[in-house]
Amino acid sequence: MSRGTTWTVARALAWRQLRILLKNPSLFVPPMLFPLMSFTAFAGGLAQMRHVPGFDFKGGYTSFQYVFVLLQSAAFSGVFMGFGIARDFERGFARRLLIAAQRRSGLVVGYALAALLRWSMVAVMLTLVALIAQMQIGGNGVDLFGLYALAIIVNVLGTLWAAGIALRFRSVQAGPLMQTPIFMVLFLAPVYVPLSLLSGWIASVAKVNPFTAFVEAGRGFISGEPYHSALAFGIALTMASLLAIWALRGLRRAERTI
Protein backbone atom coordinates (compact mmCIF):
# COMPACT_ATOMS: atom_id res chain seq x y z
CA MET A 1 0.00 0.00 0.00
CA SER A 2 1.34 3.43 -0.93
CA ARG A 3 2.62 5.58 1.89
CA GLY A 4 3.08 8.62 -0.28
CA THR A 5 3.36 11.94 1.48
CA THR A 6 2.90 15.32 -0.13
CA TRP A 7 6.63 15.61 -0.55
CA THR A 8 7.15 12.18 -2.14
CA VAL A 9 4.34 12.85 -4.61
CA ALA A 10 5.75 16.28 -5.39
CA ARG A 11 9.24 14.94 -5.87
CA ALA A 12 8.09 12.16 -8.19
CA LEU A 13 6.09 14.51 -10.34
CA ALA A 14 8.85 17.11 -10.49
CA TRP A 15 11.28 14.40 -11.55
CA ARG A 16 8.94 13.28 -14.28
CA GLN A 17 8.60 16.84 -15.59
CA LEU A 18 12.37 17.27 -15.54
CA ARG A 19 12.83 14.03 -17.48
CA ILE A 20 10.39 15.22 -20.14
CA LEU A 21 12.40 18.41 -20.45
CA LEU A 22 15.70 16.58 -20.72
CA LYS A 23 14.28 14.19 -23.34
CA ASN A 24 12.85 17.10 -25.33
CA PRO A 25 15.40 19.92 -25.17
CA SER A 26 13.31 21.91 -27.66
CA LEU A 27 10.89 22.55 -24.78
CA PHE A 28 13.58 24.78 -23.29
CA VAL A 29 13.38 27.14 -26.21
CA PRO A 30 10.10 29.06 -25.78
CA PRO A 31 10.57 29.93 -22.08
CA MET A 32 14.18 30.91 -22.84
CA LEU A 33 13.59 32.85 -26.00
CA PHE A 34 10.99 35.37 -24.92
CA PRO A 35 12.93 36.76 -21.93
CA LEU A 36 16.10 37.00 -23.98
CA MET A 37 14.24 38.79 -26.76
CA SER A 38 12.60 41.16 -24.29
CA PHE A 39 15.89 41.87 -22.57
CA THR A 40 17.64 42.56 -25.84
CA ALA A 41 14.86 44.82 -27.11
CA PHE A 42 14.38 46.75 -23.90
CA ALA A 43 17.94 47.05 -22.63
CA GLY A 44 19.38 47.44 -26.09
CA GLY A 45 16.73 49.42 -27.90
CA LEU A 46 15.57 51.65 -25.08
CA ALA A 47 18.84 52.45 -23.33
CA GLN A 48 18.25 56.09 -24.26
CA MET A 49 15.43 56.18 -21.72
CA ARG A 50 17.96 56.76 -18.96
CA HIS A 51 18.36 60.28 -20.33
CA VAL A 52 14.72 61.11 -19.75
CA PRO A 53 14.62 64.00 -17.28
CA GLY A 54 13.93 62.61 -13.83
CA PHE A 55 15.22 59.10 -14.55
CA ASP A 56 17.20 58.64 -11.36
CA PHE A 57 17.93 54.91 -11.24
CA LYS A 58 21.56 54.53 -10.33
CA GLY A 59 22.20 51.04 -11.60
CA GLY A 60 22.15 51.72 -15.34
CA TYR A 61 19.41 50.85 -17.80
CA THR A 62 20.66 47.31 -18.36
CA SER A 63 20.16 46.29 -14.75
CA PHE A 64 16.91 48.31 -14.68
CA GLN A 65 15.52 46.12 -17.44
CA TYR A 66 17.20 42.94 -16.18
CA VAL A 67 15.05 43.02 -13.05
CA PHE A 68 11.82 43.38 -15.03
CA VAL A 69 12.73 40.65 -17.49
CA LEU A 70 13.88 38.32 -14.69
CA LEU A 71 10.55 38.69 -12.94
CA GLN A 72 8.67 38.48 -16.24
CA SER A 73 10.44 35.22 -17.09
CA ALA A 74 9.66 33.86 -13.64
CA ALA A 75 5.96 34.62 -14.05
CA PHE A 76 5.72 33.22 -17.57
CA SER A 77 7.63 30.07 -16.69
CA GLY A 78 4.85 29.41 -14.23
CA VAL A 79 2.28 29.97 -16.96
CA PHE A 80 4.07 27.51 -19.27
CA MET A 81 3.73 24.89 -16.53
CA GLY A 82 0.00 25.61 -16.57
CA PHE A 83 -0.03 24.63 -20.26
CA GLY A 84 1.76 21.43 -19.27
CA ILE A 85 -0.89 20.63 -16.67
CA ALA A 86 -3.67 21.25 -19.18
CA ARG A 87 -1.95 18.98 -21.72
CA ASP A 88 -1.64 16.24 -19.09
CA PHE A 89 -5.39 16.42 -18.59
CA GLU A 90 -6.13 16.35 -22.30
CA ARG A 91 -3.96 13.27 -22.75
CA GLY A 92 -5.48 11.49 -19.76
CA PHE A 93 -2.21 11.35 -17.86
CA ALA A 94 -3.44 13.67 -15.12
CA ARG A 95 -6.27 11.28 -14.38
CA ARG A 96 -3.68 8.59 -13.69
CA LEU A 97 -1.82 10.97 -11.41
CA LEU A 98 -4.97 11.78 -9.47
CA ILE A 99 -5.77 8.12 -9.02
CA ALA A 100 -2.24 7.15 -8.03
CA ALA A 101 -1.30 9.99 -5.69
CA GLN A 102 -2.11 9.48 -2.03
CA ARG A 103 -1.61 13.14 -1.22
CA ARG A 104 -2.99 14.98 -4.22
CA SER A 105 -1.88 18.38 -2.99
CA GLY A 106 1.57 17.00 -3.72
CA LEU A 107 0.70 17.23 -7.41
CA VAL A 108 0.36 21.01 -7.23
CA VAL A 109 3.59 21.22 -5.26
CA GLY A 110 5.27 18.93 -7.80
CA TYR A 111 4.24 21.05 -10.77
CA ALA A 112 5.40 24.18 -8.91
CA LEU A 113 8.72 22.54 -8.18
CA ALA A 114 9.14 21.55 -11.81
CA ALA A 115 8.32 25.07 -12.94
CA LEU A 116 10.91 26.41 -10.57
CA LEU A 117 13.57 24.03 -11.83
CA ARG A 118 12.81 24.92 -15.43
CA TRP A 119 12.83 28.64 -14.68
CA SER A 120 16.14 28.41 -12.82
CA MET A 121 17.80 27.41 -16.10
CA VAL A 122 16.23 30.41 -17.81
CA ALA A 123 17.37 32.66 -14.99
CA VAL A 124 20.95 31.44 -15.27
CA MET A 125 20.97 32.06 -19.03
CA LEU A 126 19.41 35.49 -18.65
CA THR A 127 21.88 36.48 -15.94
CA LEU A 128 24.82 35.36 -18.05
CA VAL A 129 23.60 37.42 -20.99
CA ALA A 130 23.07 40.44 -18.75
CA LEU A 131 26.56 40.11 -17.31
CA ILE A 132 28.01 39.89 -20.83
CA ALA A 133 26.07 43.07 -21.58
CA GLN A 134 27.98 44.64 -18.66
CA MET A 135 25.05 44.96 -16.31
CA GLN A 136 25.99 46.95 -13.22
CA ILE A 137 25.33 45.25 -9.88
CA GLY A 138 25.28 47.63 -6.95
CA GLY A 139 23.79 45.21 -4.43
CA ASN A 140 25.67 42.83 -2.16
CA GLY A 141 25.06 39.14 -1.55
CA VAL A 142 22.09 39.74 0.72
CA ASP A 143 20.50 42.07 -1.80
CA LEU A 144 20.94 39.58 -4.62
CA PHE A 145 19.53 36.83 -2.43
CA GLY A 146 16.54 39.08 -1.86
CA LEU A 147 16.15 39.63 -5.62
CA TYR A 148 16.22 35.94 -6.49
CA ALA A 149 14.02 35.00 -3.55
CA LEU A 150 11.44 37.48 -4.82
CA ALA A 151 11.75 36.05 -8.32
CA ILE A 152 11.23 32.53 -6.98
CA ILE A 153 8.03 33.62 -5.28
CA VAL A 154 6.85 35.30 -8.50
CA ASN A 155 7.50 32.03 -10.32
CA VAL A 156 5.39 30.19 -7.76
CA LEU A 157 2.64 32.80 -8.14
CA GLY A 158 2.61 32.29 -11.91
CA THR A 159 2.41 28.52 -11.51
CA LEU A 160 -0.36 28.63 -8.93
CA TRP A 161 -2.45 30.99 -11.05
CA ALA A 162 -2.02 28.94 -14.21
CA ALA A 163 -2.51 25.67 -12.32
CA GLY A 164 -5.80 26.94 -10.95
CA ILE A 165 -7.01 27.69 -14.46
CA ALA A 166 -5.66 24.44 -15.88
CA LEU A 167 -7.27 22.35 -13.14
CA ARG A 168 -10.62 24.01 -13.69
CA PHE A 169 -10.70 23.91 -17.49
CA ARG A 170 -8.44 20.90 -18.12
CA SER A 171 -7.70 22.01 -21.68
CA VAL A 172 -4.94 23.97 -23.43
CA GLN A 173 -7.68 26.09 -24.95
CA ALA A 174 -7.71 27.87 -21.59
CA GLY A 175 -4.19 29.08 -22.43
CA PRO A 176 -5.25 32.68 -23.10
CA LEU A 177 -6.94 32.77 -19.68
CA MET A 178 -3.67 31.72 -18.09
CA GLN A 179 -1.54 34.12 -20.08
CA THR A 180 -3.51 37.29 -20.58
CA PRO A 181 -4.01 38.35 -16.94
CA ILE A 182 -0.33 37.72 -16.22
CA PHE A 183 0.61 39.72 -19.30
CA MET A 184 -1.59 42.60 -18.25
CA VAL A 185 -0.28 42.58 -14.67
CA LEU A 186 3.32 42.62 -15.92
CA PHE A 187 2.89 45.40 -18.43
CA LEU A 188 0.73 47.63 -16.25
CA ALA A 189 3.75 48.13 -14.02
CA PRO A 190 6.77 50.46 -14.44
CA VAL A 191 8.33 48.47 -17.28
CA TYR A 192 10.33 51.14 -19.11
CA VAL A 193 10.70 53.94 -16.55
CA PRO A 194 10.40 54.20 -12.76
CA LEU A 195 6.94 54.68 -11.28
CA SER A 196 7.68 58.34 -10.65
CA LEU A 197 7.98 58.97 -14.40
CA LEU A 198 4.67 57.34 -15.34
CA SER A 199 1.72 59.60 -15.92
CA GLY A 200 -1.94 59.33 -16.81
CA TRP A 201 -4.08 56.27 -16.36
CA ILE A 202 -1.15 53.90 -16.37
CA ALA A 203 0.40 55.62 -13.36
CA SER A 204 -2.86 55.17 -11.43
CA VAL A 205 -3.05 51.49 -12.34
CA ALA A 206 0.63 50.86 -11.66
CA LYS A 207 0.34 52.37 -8.18
CA VAL A 208 -2.13 49.65 -7.13
CA ASN A 209 -0.55 46.84 -9.16
CA PRO A 210 1.22 44.40 -6.81
CA PHE A 211 3.77 43.65 -9.51
CA THR A 212 4.96 47.25 -9.21
CA ALA A 213 6.07 46.49 -5.66
CA PHE A 214 8.02 43.46 -6.87
CA VAL A 215 9.73 45.34 -9.71
CA GLU A 216 10.63 48.35 -7.59
CA ALA A 217 11.93 46.17 -4.76
CA GLY A 218 13.92 44.09 -7.24
CA ARG A 219 15.46 47.17 -8.76
CA GLY A 220 16.29 48.37 -5.28
CA PHE A 221 18.09 45.09 -4.57
CA ILE A 222 20.18 45.16 -7.72
CA SER A 223 21.18 48.78 -7.30
CA GLY A 224 22.14 48.23 -3.66
CA GLU A 225 19.44 50.63 -2.43
CA PRO A 226 16.68 48.36 -1.11
CA TYR A 227 13.26 49.91 -1.62
CA HIS A 228 10.14 48.76 0.24
CA SER A 229 11.47 45.20 0.33
CA ALA A 230 9.32 44.15 3.28
CA LEU A 231 6.20 45.41 1.52
CA ALA A 232 7.11 43.50 -1.61
CA PHE A 233 7.69 40.24 0.25
CA GLY A 234 4.57 40.76 2.32
CA ILE A 235 2.45 41.19 -0.80
CA ALA A 236 4.16 38.27 -2.51
CA LEU A 237 3.63 35.87 0.38
CA THR A 238 0.02 36.97 0.83
CA MET A 239 -0.64 36.41 -2.85
CA ALA A 240 1.08 33.05 -2.63
CA SER A 241 -1.29 31.97 0.14
CA LEU A 242 -4.36 33.14 -1.76
CA LEU A 243 -3.25 31.57 -5.02
CA ALA A 244 -2.39 28.33 -3.23
CA ILE A 245 -6.02 28.18 -2.09
CA TRP A 246 -7.09 29.01 -5.67
CA ALA A 247 -4.97 26.17 -7.03
CA LEU A 248 -6.04 23.64 -4.39
CA ARG A 249 -9.69 24.44 -4.98
CA GLY A 250 -9.04 23.84 -8.66
CA LEU A 251 -7.57 20.49 -7.70
CA ARG A 252 -10.74 19.57 -5.81
CA ARG A 253 -12.77 20.37 -8.91
CA ALA A 254 -10.51 18.23 -11.04
CA GLU A 255 -10.81 15.36 -8.57
CA ARG A 256 -14.56 15.28 -9.09
CA THR A 257 -13.98 14.32 -12.72
CA ILE A 258 -12.24 11.03 -11.84
Binding site: K23, R91, F93
Partner: protein, 321 residues
Amino acid sequence: MSGHGIEARGLVREFKNVKAVRGIDLEVAPGEIYGFLGPNGAGKSTTVHVLTTLLPPSAGTARVAGYDVRTEGPKVRASIGAALQEAALDPWLTGREHLRLQSALHGIGARERKVRGEELLERVGLTRAADRKVQTYSGGMKRRLDLALALVHRPTILFLDEPTTGLDPQSRSALWNEVGRLARDEGVTVFLTTQYLEEADVLADRVGIIDLGRIVAEGTPEELKAEIAKPTVEASPTEPSQLGAVATVLERFGEQTQGSPGSVAVRLDGKGDLADVVRAFDAAGVTVENLRLHAPSLDDVFLAKTGHRLEGSDEDTETDE
Protein backbone atom coordinates in the same frame (compact mmCIF):
# COMPACT_ATOMS: atom_id res chain seq x y z
CA MET B 1 -5.85 -5.17 -72.30
CA SER B 2 -7.60 -2.12 -73.76
CA GLY B 3 -5.44 0.33 -71.72
CA HIS B 4 -8.32 1.87 -69.81
CA GLY B 5 -7.63 0.07 -66.55
CA ILE B 6 -4.49 0.01 -64.49
CA GLU B 7 -1.22 -1.58 -65.46
CA ALA B 8 2.08 -1.62 -63.59
CA ARG B 9 5.36 -3.27 -64.50
CA GLY B 10 8.29 -3.54 -62.11
CA LEU B 11 7.02 -0.60 -60.08
CA VAL B 12 9.50 0.55 -57.46
CA ARG B 13 9.36 3.44 -55.03
CA GLU B 14 12.22 4.26 -52.68
CA PHE B 15 12.50 6.80 -49.90
CA LYS B 16 16.06 7.60 -48.83
CA ASN B 17 17.07 4.21 -47.38
CA VAL B 18 13.72 2.50 -47.50
CA LYS B 19 12.28 0.60 -50.49
CA ALA B 20 8.57 0.82 -49.82
CA VAL B 21 7.57 -0.77 -53.14
CA ARG B 22 9.98 -3.35 -54.51
CA GLY B 23 8.86 -4.24 -57.99
CA ILE B 24 5.13 -4.64 -58.43
CA ASP B 25 3.45 -6.06 -61.54
CA LEU B 26 -0.29 -5.81 -61.72
CA GLU B 27 -3.16 -5.42 -64.16
CA VAL B 28 -6.65 -4.28 -63.32
CA ALA B 29 -9.24 -4.66 -66.03
CA PRO B 30 -11.76 -1.90 -66.69
CA GLY B 31 -14.80 -2.23 -64.42
CA GLU B 32 -13.03 -4.59 -62.05
CA ILE B 33 -12.82 -4.16 -58.27
CA TYR B 34 -9.26 -4.99 -57.33
CA GLY B 35 -8.49 -5.48 -53.66
CA PHE B 36 -4.95 -4.73 -52.52
CA LEU B 37 -4.58 -6.54 -49.22
CA GLY B 38 -1.67 -6.27 -46.80
CA PRO B 39 -0.65 -5.26 -43.29
CA ASN B 40 0.48 -1.78 -42.21
CA GLY B 41 3.76 -0.83 -43.82
CA ALA B 42 3.39 -3.33 -46.69
CA GLY B 43 3.50 -0.60 -49.34
CA LYS B 44 -0.20 -0.31 -50.17
CA SER B 45 -0.55 3.44 -49.73
CA THR B 46 2.76 4.12 -51.45
CA THR B 47 1.56 2.11 -54.45
CA VAL B 48 -1.64 4.14 -54.50
CA HIS B 49 0.32 7.41 -54.29
CA VAL B 50 2.42 6.36 -57.29
CA LEU B 51 -0.55 5.19 -59.35
CA THR B 52 -2.42 8.44 -58.58
CA THR B 53 0.66 10.49 -59.64
CA LEU B 54 1.22 11.97 -56.18
CA LEU B 55 4.66 10.39 -56.16
CA PRO B 56 6.86 9.58 -59.14
CA PRO B 57 8.03 5.95 -59.33
CA SER B 58 11.70 5.35 -58.62
CA ALA B 59 11.72 2.66 -61.31
CA GLY B 60 9.28 0.71 -63.46
CA THR B 61 6.26 1.87 -65.37
CA ALA B 62 2.58 2.33 -64.73
CA ARG B 63 -0.31 3.29 -66.93
CA VAL B 64 -3.63 4.39 -65.50
CA ALA B 65 -6.64 4.90 -67.76
CA GLY B 66 -4.27 4.46 -70.68
CA TYR B 67 -1.91 7.27 -69.62
CA ASP B 68 1.63 7.03 -68.33
CA VAL B 69 1.78 8.14 -64.68
CA ARG B 70 5.26 9.58 -65.14
CA THR B 71 4.79 11.64 -68.30
CA GLU B 72 1.03 12.21 -68.56
CA GLY B 73 0.20 13.10 -64.97
CA PRO B 74 -2.53 15.69 -65.69
CA LYS B 75 -4.38 13.26 -67.98
CA VAL B 76 -4.20 10.54 -65.35
CA ARG B 77 -5.57 12.89 -62.71
CA ALA B 78 -8.43 13.95 -64.96
CA SER B 79 -9.48 10.30 -65.26
CA ILE B 80 -9.20 9.17 -61.66
CA GLY B 81 -10.82 9.91 -58.35
CA ALA B 82 -9.15 9.11 -55.05
CA ALA B 83 -10.23 8.81 -51.45
CA LEU B 84 -6.92 8.45 -49.66
CA GLN B 85 -6.12 7.11 -46.23
CA GLU B 86 -6.84 10.39 -44.44
CA ALA B 87 -10.30 11.79 -45.03
CA ALA B 88 -8.54 15.02 -46.07
CA LEU B 89 -11.31 17.51 -45.40
CA ASP B 90 -11.32 21.10 -44.25
CA PRO B 91 -13.08 21.26 -40.85
CA TRP B 92 -14.20 24.84 -41.48
CA LEU B 93 -16.04 24.20 -44.73
CA THR B 94 -19.44 22.57 -45.11
CA GLY B 95 -20.05 19.46 -47.18
CA ARG B 96 -21.67 21.49 -49.91
CA GLU B 97 -18.76 23.95 -49.98
CA HIS B 98 -16.31 21.09 -50.35
CA LEU B 99 -18.19 19.84 -53.40
CA ARG B 100 -18.33 23.35 -54.81
CA LEU B 101 -14.58 23.81 -54.41
CA GLN B 102 -13.70 20.39 -55.79
CA SER B 103 -15.93 20.71 -58.83
CA ALA B 104 -14.78 24.27 -59.52
CA LEU B 105 -11.16 23.18 -59.48
CA HIS B 106 -12.02 20.43 -61.95
CA GLY B 107 -13.33 23.13 -64.23
CA ILE B 108 -17.01 22.20 -63.95
CA GLY B 109 -19.30 25.12 -64.81
CA ALA B 110 -21.52 26.79 -62.22
CA ARG B 111 -24.83 25.23 -63.25
CA GLU B 112 -23.49 21.72 -63.55
CA ARG B 113 -21.61 22.17 -60.23
CA LYS B 114 -24.88 22.73 -58.43
CA VAL B 115 -26.67 19.80 -60.04
CA ARG B 116 -23.77 17.41 -59.60
CA GLY B 117 -23.26 18.51 -56.00
CA GLU B 118 -26.88 17.81 -55.06
CA GLU B 119 -26.81 14.49 -56.86
CA LEU B 120 -23.72 13.33 -54.99
CA LEU B 121 -24.97 14.57 -51.63
CA GLU B 122 -28.15 12.59 -52.21
CA ARG B 123 -26.22 9.54 -53.29
CA VAL B 124 -24.02 9.43 -50.18
CA GLY B 125 -26.84 10.39 -47.84
CA LEU B 126 -25.49 13.79 -46.77
CA THR B 127 -28.18 16.14 -48.09
CA ARG B 128 -29.42 17.05 -44.65
CA ALA B 129 -25.93 17.62 -43.27
CA ALA B 130 -24.68 19.43 -46.36
CA ASP B 131 -24.66 22.88 -44.79
CA ARG B 132 -22.98 21.84 -41.56
CA LYS B 133 -19.26 22.33 -41.08
CA VAL B 134 -17.29 19.13 -41.54
CA GLN B 135 -15.89 19.36 -38.02
CA THR B 136 -19.38 18.34 -36.83
CA TYR B 137 -19.45 15.22 -39.03
CA SER B 138 -18.96 11.70 -37.71
CA GLY B 139 -16.21 9.48 -39.12
CA GLY B 140 -18.68 7.73 -41.38
CA MET B 141 -20.04 10.98 -42.74
CA LYS B 142 -16.54 12.22 -43.48
CA ARG B 143 -15.77 9.06 -45.42
CA ARG B 144 -18.95 9.41 -47.43
CA LEU B 145 -18.13 13.01 -48.26
CA ASP B 146 -14.64 11.90 -49.20
CA LEU B 147 -16.13 9.41 -51.66
CA ALA B 148 -18.48 12.02 -53.09
CA LEU B 149 -15.56 14.39 -53.67
CA ALA B 150 -13.66 11.66 -55.47
CA LEU B 151 -16.60 11.18 -57.85
CA VAL B 152 -17.34 14.82 -58.62
CA HIS B 153 -15.77 14.79 -62.11
CA ARG B 154 -17.11 11.31 -63.08
CA PRO B 155 -13.79 9.46 -63.07
CA THR B 156 -13.48 6.11 -64.81
CA ILE B 157 -11.09 4.81 -62.17
CA LEU B 158 -11.48 5.15 -58.42
CA PHE B 159 -8.71 4.65 -55.86
CA LEU B 160 -9.83 3.92 -52.31
CA ASP B 161 -7.08 3.71 -49.70
CA GLU B 162 -8.41 1.87 -46.64
CA PRO B 163 -11.80 3.52 -47.00
CA THR B 164 -13.53 1.79 -44.08
CA THR B 165 -10.83 1.96 -41.40
CA GLY B 166 -12.40 3.12 -38.17
CA LEU B 167 -15.99 2.90 -39.42
CA ASP B 168 -18.81 1.13 -37.62
CA PRO B 169 -20.26 -1.96 -39.33
CA GLN B 170 -23.28 -0.09 -40.66
CA SER B 171 -21.21 2.65 -42.31
CA ARG B 172 -18.83 0.06 -43.66
CA SER B 173 -21.64 -1.93 -45.20
CA ALA B 174 -23.14 1.22 -46.77
CA LEU B 175 -19.79 2.09 -48.33
CA TRP B 176 -19.37 -1.42 -49.71
CA ASN B 177 -22.80 -1.21 -51.30
CA GLU B 178 -21.93 2.07 -52.99
CA VAL B 179 -18.58 0.80 -54.25
CA GLY B 180 -20.20 -2.33 -55.59
CA ARG B 181 -22.87 -0.25 -57.32
CA LEU B 182 -20.30 2.04 -58.91
CA ALA B 183 -18.47 -0.89 -60.45
CA ARG B 184 -21.60 -2.79 -61.45
CA ASP B 185 -23.84 0.00 -62.74
CA GLU B 186 -21.38 2.64 -63.87
CA GLY B 187 -18.45 0.46 -64.89
CA VAL B 188 -16.01 2.33 -62.65
CA THR B 189 -12.74 0.49 -62.10
CA VAL B 190 -11.99 0.36 -58.38
CA PHE B 191 -8.55 -0.09 -56.84
CA LEU B 192 -9.15 -0.68 -53.16
CA THR B 193 -6.48 -1.10 -50.49
CA THR B 194 -7.44 -2.70 -47.23
CA GLN B 195 -6.10 -4.59 -44.27
CA TYR B 196 -9.50 -6.16 -43.61
CA LEU B 197 -9.85 -9.69 -44.95
CA GLU B 198 -13.61 -9.54 -45.00
CA GLU B 199 -13.57 -6.40 -47.12
CA ALA B 200 -11.34 -7.95 -49.73
CA ASP B 201 -13.31 -11.18 -49.61
CA VAL B 202 -16.72 -9.57 -50.01
CA LEU B 203 -15.97 -6.68 -52.32
CA ALA B 204 -13.08 -7.55 -54.59
CA ASP B 205 -13.31 -9.41 -57.89
CA ARG B 206 -9.61 -10.07 -57.59
CA VAL B 207 -7.19 -9.67 -54.73
CA GLY B 208 -3.49 -8.89 -54.72
CA ILE B 209 -1.76 -9.67 -51.45
CA ILE B 210 1.21 -7.40 -50.73
CA ASP B 211 3.85 -7.84 -48.09
CA LEU B 212 7.11 -5.91 -47.67
CA GLY B 213 6.64 -4.10 -50.96
CA ARG B 214 5.97 -7.12 -53.16
CA ILE B 215 2.87 -8.90 -54.39
CA VAL B 216 3.04 -12.39 -52.91
CA ALA B 217 -0.21 -13.75 -54.31
CA GLU B 218 -2.88 -12.65 -56.76
CA GLY B 219 -6.19 -14.05 -57.91
CA THR B 220 -9.85 -14.21 -57.04
CA PRO B 221 -10.50 -14.85 -53.32
CA GLU B 222 -11.75 -18.36 -54.16
CA GLU B 223 -8.71 -19.17 -56.28
CA LEU B 224 -6.35 -18.04 -53.56
CA LYS B 225 -8.10 -20.03 -50.86
CA ALA B 226 -8.33 -23.11 -53.06
CA GLU B 227 -4.59 -22.88 -53.66
CA ILE B 228 -4.03 -23.33 -49.94
CA ALA B 229 -6.76 -26.01 -49.59
CA LYS B 230 -6.12 -26.32 -45.90
CA PRO B 231 -9.25 -26.02 -43.83
CA THR B 232 -9.03 -25.55 -40.07
CA VAL B 233 -10.61 -27.91 -37.54
CA GLU B 234 -11.54 -26.47 -34.16
CA ALA B 235 -12.71 -28.58 -31.22
CA SER B 236 -13.73 -27.77 -27.65
CA PRO B 237 -13.97 -30.57 -25.04
CA THR B 238 -17.01 -31.25 -22.87
CA GLU B 239 -14.74 -31.17 -19.82
CA PRO B 240 -12.29 -28.23 -19.77
CA SER B 241 -9.72 -30.52 -18.12
CA GLN B 242 -9.54 -32.46 -21.37
CA LEU B 243 -8.21 -29.52 -23.40
CA GLY B 244 -4.74 -31.02 -23.37
CA ALA B 245 -6.02 -34.36 -24.61
CA VAL B 246 -7.88 -32.58 -27.44
CA ALA B 247 -4.67 -30.80 -28.44
CA THR B 248 -2.73 -34.09 -28.42
CA VAL B 249 -5.23 -35.70 -30.79
CA LEU B 250 -5.55 -32.75 -33.15
CA GLU B 251 -1.83 -32.13 -33.44
CA ARG B 252 -1.52 -35.42 -35.32
CA PHE B 253 -3.47 -33.86 -38.17
CA GLY B 254 -1.69 -30.57 -38.64
CA GLU B 255 -0.15 -27.49 -37.10
CA GLN B 256 -1.93 -25.80 -34.21
CA THR B 257 -3.34 -22.39 -34.98
CA GLN B 258 -5.32 -19.62 -33.25
CA GLY B 259 -8.64 -20.87 -31.88
CA SER B 260 -11.45 -19.48 -29.72
CA PRO B 261 -10.98 -19.51 -25.93
CA GLY B 262 -11.51 -22.98 -24.49
CA SER B 263 -10.87 -24.74 -27.79
CA VAL B 264 -7.99 -26.03 -29.88
CA ALA B 265 -7.64 -25.44 -33.62
CA VAL B 266 -5.31 -27.02 -36.18
CA ARG B 267 -4.87 -26.45 -39.88
CA LEU B 268 -5.31 -29.80 -41.63
CA ASP B 269 -2.22 -30.56 -43.68
CA GLY B 270 -3.43 -33.60 -45.57
CA LYS B 271 -2.82 -36.22 -42.89
CA GLY B 272 -6.55 -36.78 -42.54
CA ASP B 273 -9.99 -35.29 -42.96
CA LEU B 274 -12.83 -34.51 -40.56
CA ALA B 275 -13.97 -38.14 -40.38
CA ASP B 276 -10.46 -39.20 -39.37
CA VAL B 277 -10.45 -36.58 -36.65
CA VAL B 278 -13.74 -37.83 -35.22
CA ARG B 279 -12.43 -41.43 -35.20
CA ALA B 280 -9.25 -40.28 -33.45
CA PHE B 281 -11.25 -38.58 -30.69
CA ASP B 282 -13.30 -41.75 -30.25
CA ALA B 283 -10.19 -43.89 -30.04
CA ALA B 284 -8.65 -41.57 -27.44
CA GLY B 285 -11.84 -41.51 -25.40
CA VAL B 286 -12.10 -37.73 -25.61
CA THR B 287 -15.63 -36.31 -25.56
CA VAL B 288 -15.96 -33.23 -27.67
CA GLU B 289 -18.74 -30.70 -27.16
CA ASN B 290 -18.13 -28.66 -30.35
CA LEU B 291 -16.39 -29.61 -33.55
CA ARG B 292 -16.12 -27.08 -36.37
CA LEU B 293 -14.56 -27.11 -39.82
CA HIS B 294 -13.49 -23.68 -41.19
CA ALA B 295 -12.70 -23.12 -44.85
CA PRO B 296 -9.33 -21.41 -45.43
CA SER B 297 -9.38 -17.64 -45.09
CA LEU B 298 -7.30 -15.02 -46.85
CA ASP B 299 -5.35 -14.80 -43.60
CA ASP B 300 -4.42 -18.45 -44.14
CA VAL B 301 -3.36 -17.56 -47.65
CA PHE B 302 -1.26 -14.72 -46.25
CA LEU B 303 0.30 -17.00 -43.68
CA ALA B 304 1.12 -19.61 -46.31
CA LYS B 305 2.74 -17.05 -48.58
CA THR B 306 4.59 -14.92 -46.00
CA GLY B 307 4.99 -17.03 -42.89
CA HIS B 308 3.06 -14.61 -40.71
CA ARG B 309 -0.54 -13.61 -40.21
CA LEU B 310 -2.20 -10.54 -41.59
CA GLU B 311 -4.68 -10.09 -38.74
CA GLY B 312 -3.08 -8.91 -35.50
CA SER B 313 0.15 -8.21 -37.32
CA ASP B 314 0.06 -4.43 -36.65
CA GLU B 315 3.15 -3.17 -34.85
CA ASP B 316 2.53 -0.95 -31.86
CA THR B 317 3.73 2.55 -32.52
CA GLU B 318 5.60 4.15 -29.65
CA THR B 319 4.33 7.48 -28.49
CA ASP B 320 6.16 9.97 -26.30
CA GLU B 321 4.18 11.36 -23.41
